[in-house]
Every structure is written in structure tokens, then in C-alpha cells.
């Protein structure tokens, strides 16, 4: 029984060991396949990665199985059991030997007992735990690694950040393949109209920029290293209307830029075709009218470049002559005798002069003269436009003078005509222009027949007691102020007090004389019969009060004349009381008719005011959606930045690259709404890329955004009951 039992047990052990080894091999193969699949999914694609992973996994599993092939032999199984048992002494190979198998119990009872006492099941459990445990752990680890790889940021970000941190060095060995997006060389070429001889930097080269700032319509040629397909470039407009068609790579910058800048067909992100170059790839775009993002993608890398346009301003034109509006008179209109307006003669000319300036270059200019006549109510207004002094400038100067002389006889002037003159200048913008600037308009009007310019202004004498002299109340206030000054100084300078009190005394004397004039009539014998008082017309009570006031004023004037304001003050107050009492007795009669009902023609007067608001401080206003959104996004980016571990320039890799990308896109959005915030965000990006602290720049950005986004919720809302 023993030999049979030993053989059966050995066979069972072999089968179990085989199963363990096969499962172990499969687990290791699966683990390897998972890791390889995750690593190759992004660069090679999912299908190819799966095929490769399956092949490698199968090979690993097969190799492991092949290594364990000897377990098929029972003598090897017997030796394995002997290895697992420290107390065994070659009993299992002996028991399975055909020479002893039949008589084992009788010939080798000790061996038979040892065989029976061997704990084969325990050995198998230990082997399974050892071998399968390691394999299962490897499989779990491979799953974790695969999950991490699947959720990692694009390898380009990591590679770019690592490259920035190491000064442009390529990614570490074993990382993604070398980037074809670094270093980038960008040649910016001004549009043809702006690239004249006087323009500086008609073409300039930027190396590895994050922002390209250039005139609208400029050609932006991006060049990168490496060959072969796979580099994708996408133009992402900041606003839908900002899309600009890309240029074919074969087109030359100067001849293709205008057409590209005018083509605003697409509204969303658009792929820009790339072309192979001598030593790399190349793509050409025209600077759009609004900020845009240039997204560059290599299979293993990604990069963002902001296109920030500079708009071409229209020319500014100042009309120097004629300097002002004028009214002319025809010699035979019958009104010359009553008028100071100049009379026009057939030989007269109008001198026109203007000065034009432009930020890029001027192309042409001239004067527009509109001659109109007639009225709306009598046959309508006829107008014709005459252009004089037209000039085309060569060399696109930035400033130029315009001049012309217009013979008035050529306009066939007639009474009622209006001559409106303005200067016009155009720039040479062939991309989005030409930009046109105009001066203000001056008007020469020809007077109608029998029209006069006389305006009678008769200077009226001022009414009594209303001539701007100091009132008694003001004198009282000034006297009290003088007394306070005297009290503050221990030894006040006497001359100063005398002068100040003397001036007040003069005022009191003047007031007394005026009251005397009211009581007794004017002293100077003029012919003003409208003076209110001539002594006999005042009621007795008023007369008495004014008499009292005049006497008090005289007393006060005398005290002030000898520099005794303290003594003058009670007299001044007595005069004031008398004057107020007299005024209270006066009966006021308001004679007013029905007020006119004025209806404002709001549409006619809308925004025609000549005054310009100059407010530097405004009330808080509700934040726009854009500003509020920008504020939220910046807060989110700052939170992500704050969470970065501070472990050197490459610390937080690749989270740092994610923050940089977020801020770069944020800067693009801020360009059109908040220049200050955009500049500060750009500083923050630069600091992060250089491994410096971005706290200061981010703080400035937050302040700039917060100013726009601030919402004052303290104000009371208007509410009906």
C-alpha cells in the first residue's frame, strides 16, 4: 500500500505543482502585458499596443512554463519534496524506485513511515503562496502602473517642463521620444504695407517664445526641428470672429499675408497644414485681428504659443486752416451796412492747411469741401463735394502736411450757402484697411440776404444793495475771525490788526453809505429813478430800522478804523439785527406766469454735449460675465499653483506644466479684456518656466482681475413698496 500511496501522492503533487507554475506564468505574462500596453498606448495607438503587449506577455508566460518543464518527471517531484522537508533523507526517491516499491513496507519500514509522515499538502500550500503571491502582487502593481500612465498629463508637458528646468535638455533617457516642438524658431514678418524702408524690424526672429506680438496681418512662420509626419498645428481663435485662414507653406510671406488676413471663414479651431523643410517642419499663419492660440502637437509632446495682435491705428488729422468757423457776406445782399462780417469778393481764396500722422505710414490725403445750399422747407438741400489738395505720399511717411488754396469764385457762392471743410488722410493698410482719419469740420457760411449780425447789449446799472459788496453777515463773520486770530497770538503785530480792521471798517462804511442812499436817495445825482428808496417811499417801520442799522454801521466803522474789533462787534450785530428785521418787513411778490411745458427731443440731443466726462473714479459696477469668469479661473489656477510641491525648478512635475498651460490659456483670454491681468499672468508664466517664484506676479494678476470683477453688494437695491 505504501508504494502505491507514495506514487499516487507524488502524482498529485506533480499535477498541483504544474497548475501552480502555469498560473504563475500566466499572471506574470498578464502583468507584463498590462504595463506594456499602458506604456505604448499613447505613442503607438491602442490596437498596436495591445498586440505588442499580448505578444510580450505570452512570451513571458511561455518562457516561465518552459523553465518549469522538469516538473513533469516524478523523480524531480520527489526531489522537490525532499527539498521542502528538512527531516527527509532521500526517502521519496527511494520510495518511488521500482526496485523497492513493491516491498517497501517490509524492506524499508523506516522509509515507509517517513513517507507517511510527510506533510505534502503543507508544502504545496507554501509553494502556492510563495509563487502565486508574488505573481498576483506583480499583476496588481501592473494595474496600478497602467492606471497611473493612463491618467498622467500629456507626456509633452512633462518633457517640456523637464526641458525648461534643465535649460532645454531633452527628456530623461527612457522618457518620451525627443520633441520636435523645441526649440521653436518663429520668424515674424511685417505685412508689405508696413515693411517700408522707415519701419524698424520688418522681420525678426524669436526663439522659443510663448507669446508672439505683431501687427495684424504679419506673417508668423513657425519652424521646428525633426522630420517626418505627425506634427499637428491648430489655430484656436480667442473669439469666433478672429479666425484667420492659414497660409500654405509654399506661399511667400509678403504675397500671401493680405489674402490670409482677410479670410475669416472659420469660427472654431482650425488645423494649419505643415510642410517639410530642409531641417525640420514649417507652418505659416497670418497674425489674426484678435488674440489666438497656436496649439502645436507632436505625438508625444504639446506646446502652446499665443498670437497677440497689434492693431493698426487710423491716421490722425488736424485741420490748421481755416482756423475757425466764419460767416461771409455777399457784396450785393443789402446787409453789409449793418454787419461786421467780411464781404467776399470773387478773387478771394480759402487757404487750407492740415497735418496728418499715422503709426505705420500715410498713403494719401486731401481736403473734402462740401458746398450745400437750400433749406429743408423750401425745396430741399442740395450739396456737392469738392476734393482739393489731394496728394499721394511716397515712402509711407509717418507724418505729412497738407495744403491747398480754394478759389471761392469756383464754388459759385450764393447767399445761404454753407461750405464745410475737413481734411482726410488714409494709411497704406492693405490688410484690414485702409484706415481713414478725418479732421474736425470747419464751416464758412454765406449770410442770407438782409441777415444782420447786430446784437444789442445795453449795460444795465446794478440794482442798489445788490452790487456784490460784502453783506453785513459776512462782515460779522470776518470780525469774529479777526478776533480769533488776535486771541491765538500772544502779541499780535499791530500793523496787521490795523490793516485788517481798517478793511472791515471800509466795508462797514460802504454799507452805511448804501443804506443812506436807500434812505435819502443817491448822492451822486445820477438819473437812476429806479432806485428803491428816496426817503419818502419807505414805510415808517422800515425807515426806522434802516436808520438804526446805518447808525450802528457808522459806529462799527469808527471802532474798526481805530483797530478795536472787539468794540465793533456788538455794533455790527446790532446793525445786522436791524437789517434782518427790515428785510422781514418787505413784502415779496412773485409774479410768474404758467411755466412752459418743455419736451426734450432726446434723440436729437443725445450725446451732443460738448463737455467730456473726466471722471477718474467711478462707482463700483457689476462685474461682467467675462471678468467674473476670468476671476474664477485665475483663482483655480492659483490654487493649483499653491498646491505644487516646492522641490526645485522641476518640482511638482508634471503638475507644474499643467499650471503653466492653464495660465497660458488664461493669459490669452485676458488679452482682450484686461491688459494688466494679461501682463501679470505672462510674468507668472515666465517665472514658472524659469523655476522662479511666481507669487508676486500671481498676486498682481489677482488684483488686476479683482478690480474688474469687484461687485459692490453693499448698495441698496431700488425696490417698490
Amino acid at each position: 500500500m505504501v508504494d502505491v500511496t507514495a506514487h499516487e501522492r507524488a502524482t498529485t503533487v506533480r499535477a498541483t505543482l504544474l497548475a501552480i507554475l502555469v498560473v504563475q506564468a500566466l499572471l506574470w505574462g498578464i502583468a507584463a502585458a498590462i504595463v506594456i500596453s499602458a506604456m505604448l498606448a499613447r505613442p503607438l495607438g491602442r490596437v498596436v499596443a495591445l498586440v505588442v503587449a499580448a505578444a510580450v506577455g505570452s512570451a513571458i508566460a511561455a518562457r516561465l512554463v518552459w523553465r518549469s518543464r522538469t516538473v513533469r518527471a516524478l523523480d524531480r517531484v520527489a526531489l522537490w519534496i525532499e527539498e521542502q522537508s528538512a527531516s527527509s533523507s532521500y526517502v521519496w526517491p527511494t520510495a518511488l524506485d521500482r526496485r523497492y516499491a513493491a516491498t517497501l513496507d517490509e524492506s524499508l519500514p523506516a522509509v515507509a513511515r517517513a513517507i507517511a509522515e510527510t506533510d505534502v499538502a503543507g508544502m504545496l500550500r507554501a509553494a502556492a503562496a510563495r509563487r502565486l503571491g508574488a505573481a498576483i502582487a506583480a499583476a496588481v502593481a501592473s494595474l496600478l502602473v497602467a492606471w497611473g500612465l493612463a491618467h498622467r498629463p500629456p507626456p509633452s508637458i512633462a518633457a517640456r517642463t523637464a526641458a525648461a528646468a534643465r535649460g532645454g535638455a531633452s527628456a530623461a533617457s527612457g522618457g518620451p521620444p525627443p520633441s520636435r516642438l523645441a526649440p521653436l524658431t518663429i520668424r515674424v514678418t511685417l505685412p508689405a504695407y508696413a515693411a517700408h524702408a522707415g519701419a524698424p524690424d520688418a522681420s525678426r526672429i524669436l526663439t522659443d517664445p510663448t507669446v508672439v506680438v505683431a501687427l495684424v496681418g504679419s506673417t508668423v512662420a513657425v519652424h521646428g526641428p525633426g522630420v517626418g509626419p505627425g506634427v499637428r498645428v491648430t489655430l484656436v481663435p480667442r473669439a469666433a470672429s478672429a479666425a484667420v485662414a492659414p497660409a500654405p507653406a509654399s506661399a511667400t510671406p509678403t504675397d500671401s499675408a493680405p489674402a490670409r488676413a482677410r479670410s475669416h471663414q472659420s469660427e472654431g479651431p482650425r488645423a494649419v497644414p505643415t510642410a517639410a523643410d530642409d531641417d525640420g517642419w514649417r507652418v505659416v499663419v497670418a497674425m489674426p485681428a484678435l488674440p489666438a492660440l497656436l496649439r502645436l502637437e507632436d505625438p508625444a509632446h504639446e506646446r502652446l504659443v499665443i498670437l497677440q495682435p497689434i492693431a493698426d491705428a487710423p491716421p490722425t488729422v488736424d485741420l490748421l486752416a481755416p482756423a475757425r468757423d466764419t460767416v461771409l457776406r455777399m457784396p450785393d445782399d443789402g446787409g453789409a451796412r449793418r454787419s461786421t462780417w467780411p464781404t467776399v469778393s470773387p478773387a478771394d481764396t480759402m487757404t487750407l492747411a492740415a497735418r496728418a500722422a499715422d503709426d505705420i505710414g500715410l498713403a494719401d490725403g486731401g481736403f473734402e469741401v462740401i458746398v450745400s445750399s437750400g433749406e429743408e422747407g423750401s425745396g430741399g438741400v442740395q450739396a456737392r463735394t469738392v476734393r482739393v489738395g489731394s496728394v499721394t505720399w511716397a515712402g509711407s511717411p509717418r507724418s505729412a502736411d497738407l495744403g491747398a488754396r480754394l478759389a471761392l469764385s469756383s464754388l459759385a457762392l450764393a447767399p445761404g450757402m454753407v461750405i464745410s471743410v475737413r481734411a482726410v488722410a488714409r494709411d497704406g493698410n492693405t490688410i484690414s484697411g485702409p484706415g481713414m482719419g478725418t479732421s474736425e469740420t470747419r464751416t464758412w457760411r454765406v449770410a442770407t440776404r438782409h441777415e444782420g449780425d447786430s446784437l444789442a447789449i445795453d449795460a444795465a446799472p446794478p440794482p442798489p444793495l445788490d452790487t456784490g459788496a460784502l453783506s453785513q453777515r459776512a462782515v460779522v463773520i470776518a470780525t469774529r475771525a479777526l478776533l480769533r486770530r488776535i486771541g491765538r497770538v500772544p502779541h499780535p503785530p499791530r500793523d496787521t490788526i490795523v490793516r485788517a480792521a481798517g478793511r472791515l471798517g471800509d466795508d462797514e462804511r460802504t454799507l452805511a453809505e448804501r443804506i443812506d442812499g436807500v434812505l435819502n436817495g443817491p448822492q451822486s445825482g445820477d438819473d437812476d429813478d429806479r432806485v428803491a428808496g428816496n426817503g419818502s417811499t419807505l414805510p415808517p417801520d422800515e425807515h426806522r430800522l434802516l436808520d438804526t442799522a446805518a447808525a450802528a454801521l457808522g459806529d462799527a466803522a469808527r471802532s474798526l478804523a481805530i483797530a478795536e474789533p472787539a468794540a465793533a462787534l456788538p455794533r455790527e450785530l446790532r446793525a445786522l439785527t436791524a437789517l434782518d428785521s427790515a428785510r422781514a418787513l418787505v413784502r415779496r411778490i412773485y409774479l410768474r406766469g404758467q411755466p412752459p411745458a418743455i419736451v426734450i427731443d432726446v434723440a436729437r440731443v443725445r450725446l451732443t454735449g460738448a463737455e467730456i466726462p473726466t471722471s477718474a473714479r467711478t462707482l463700483p459696477t457689476l462685474a461682467s460675465d467675462d471678468a467674473a469668469r476670468l476671476d474664477r479661473r485665475l483663482a483655480s489656477a492659483i490654487a493649483a499653483w499653491a498646491a505644487l510641491p516646492a522641490t526645485g525648478p522641476a518640482g511638482g512635475f508634471p503638475l507644474r506644466a499643467t499650471v503653466i498651460d492653464s495660465l497660458t490659456v488664461l493669459r490669452l483670454d485676458a488679452l482682450t479684456t484686461n491688459d494688466s491681468a494679461a501682463a501679470a499672468i505672462g510674468d507668472a508664466v515666465g517665472a514658472l518656466q524659469a523655476g522662479r517664484d511666481a507669487a508676486s506676479a500671481l498676486e498682481r494678476a489677482r488684483r488686476a482681475v479683482h478690480v474688474t470683477a469687484a461687485v459692490d453688494t453693499s448698495g441698496r437695491a431700488w425696490a417698490a413698496p
Binding site: S471, I600, V605, G609, T614, R716, A719
Partner: protein, 204 residues
């Protein structure tokens, strides 16, 4: 958007209609300088009427005593509490006059003490900038009335610091009391401060 309607307050005492041209003049200025939708004609509203709540800014002026009836006082108090703004101008330009004495007393009772408004208040910069505070009127400069150039306006402030009652002793009612077409004869439009008052009332 509902256009802004300039409202003139009518009260039982005194001459509430002493400056009939001011509303049209300010309506014209609001249209000239701002894009605020504005009704072409002002309205007159009783201070005791619930219609008062239809207007965010109410202008009152006069020469004679400014005394409010119980109904007027109750409505005006609720109006101010709910966010309305009252602009009261002394047409006398006289701090010793009856309008000043009675109006300041009534308004202090309704809206709290009237304090000097600092010349840095947003009222002076919310549209046009007045660095020296309230612009002087020709009456002040000519020495009429109380013969003072008032350096400050007075105001009753709400709990949040916003003006609920703006009181002027400068007689803007005389300064702005002319037909709007006459603005062309002025070198500087003197109704600019009126635009500030309207803009402040609508944006505070």
C-alpha cells in the same frame, strides 16, 4: 429698459414749483452726456403719493417754508428707507432763510442729521469730476443771498453710506433755471453737476 423719469416733488406748503425749467434742463443734459434712457418730459409727484416710489430721484425746491404734512412725512420716510433719493435745493440761497430753516429741520427729522458731504464723495466724480466739491453758482459768486460760497453740500446718509437726502444751499434751482436751448451760449455747461446727481442716484 425703463427710461429714467425726472420727478419734481410737490408738497403742500410753500412754492414747490419755483423752478419749472430745471427738470427739462437736466433731462436735456442727461441725454446730451450719457446714454441713460431718459423720458423727454419730467413728472410732478405728490410727496404724499405712493407714486413717489416709481421714481428713484425726486427733486424739491422752493423759497417759502418747507413743511411736510403727516402723510407726506410718512411717505417720504418710507421712500428714503426703501432706497429713494431726495435732492432738495434752497432756491433762496440763504442759510438764514425760511426754506433753509424749515427744510433742514424736516429732513433731519425724516432721514437723520444732515452732515457736510466731503468733497471727495463719489457724487463729485461719478461722471464729471469736480475736484473742489460742489460747483459754485453765479448767485454765490455775485454775493447774493447769504453772501457765502458754500464749500459743501449737506446730506443724510443711509446705513450703507449712500446718500438718501442731498441738500443744497447753493441755489442750483436758479443756476439751472433756463431753457435748455440756451446752453449753447455758455462756455461751460453749468448743469454738469446735475448729471452727476442723476448718475449717482441711479448707480449708488
Amino acid at each position: 429698459m425703463t427710461p429714467f423719469v425726472f420727478a419734481t416733488g410737490r408738497y403742500q406748503s410753500g412754492d414747490w414749483d419755483a423752478a419749472p425749467l430745471v427738470p427739462a434742463n437736466l433731462i436735456d443734459s442727461v441725454a446730451r452726456y450719457t446714454s441713460i434712457p431718459v423720458a423727454p418730459q419730467g413728472v410732478v409727484v405728490d410727496l404724499a403719493s405712493a407714486a413717489l416710489f416709481d421714481y428713484p430721484l425726486v427733486y424739491c425746491t422752493g423759497h417759502l417754508p418747507f413743511r411736510l404734512t403727516a402723510g407726506e412725512a410718512s411717505t417720504v420716510r418710507r421712500y428714503l428707507t426703501r432706497g429713494g433719493m431726495l435732492f432738495v435745493d434752497d432756491h433762496n440761497h440763504d442759510v438764514g432763510g425760511v426754506f433753509h430753516a424749515t427744510a433742514t429741520e424736516e429732513l433731519s427729522r425724516l432721514a437723520g442729521p444732515l452732515v457736510d458731504l466731503p468733497n471727495t464723495h463719489p457724487l463729485y466724480s461719478c461722471f464729471f469730476e469736480f475736484r473742489d466739491g460742489p460747483p459754485a453758482t453765479s448767485h454765490e459768486l455775485n454775493g447774493w443771498g447769504d453772501n457765502l460760497v458754500h464749500a459743501h453740500l449737506q446730506a443724510a446718509l443711509g446705513p450703507d453710506g449712500a446718500i438718501s437726502v442731498l441738500y443744497s444751499s447753493k441755489d442750483y434751482s436758479s443756476e439751472w433755471g433756463y431753457h435748455p436751448d440756451a446752453k449753447r451760449f455758455q462756455s461751460v455747461d453749468n448743469t454738469r453737476f446735475g448729471v452727476n446727481i442723476v448718475v449717482y442716484a441711479l448707480t449708488r
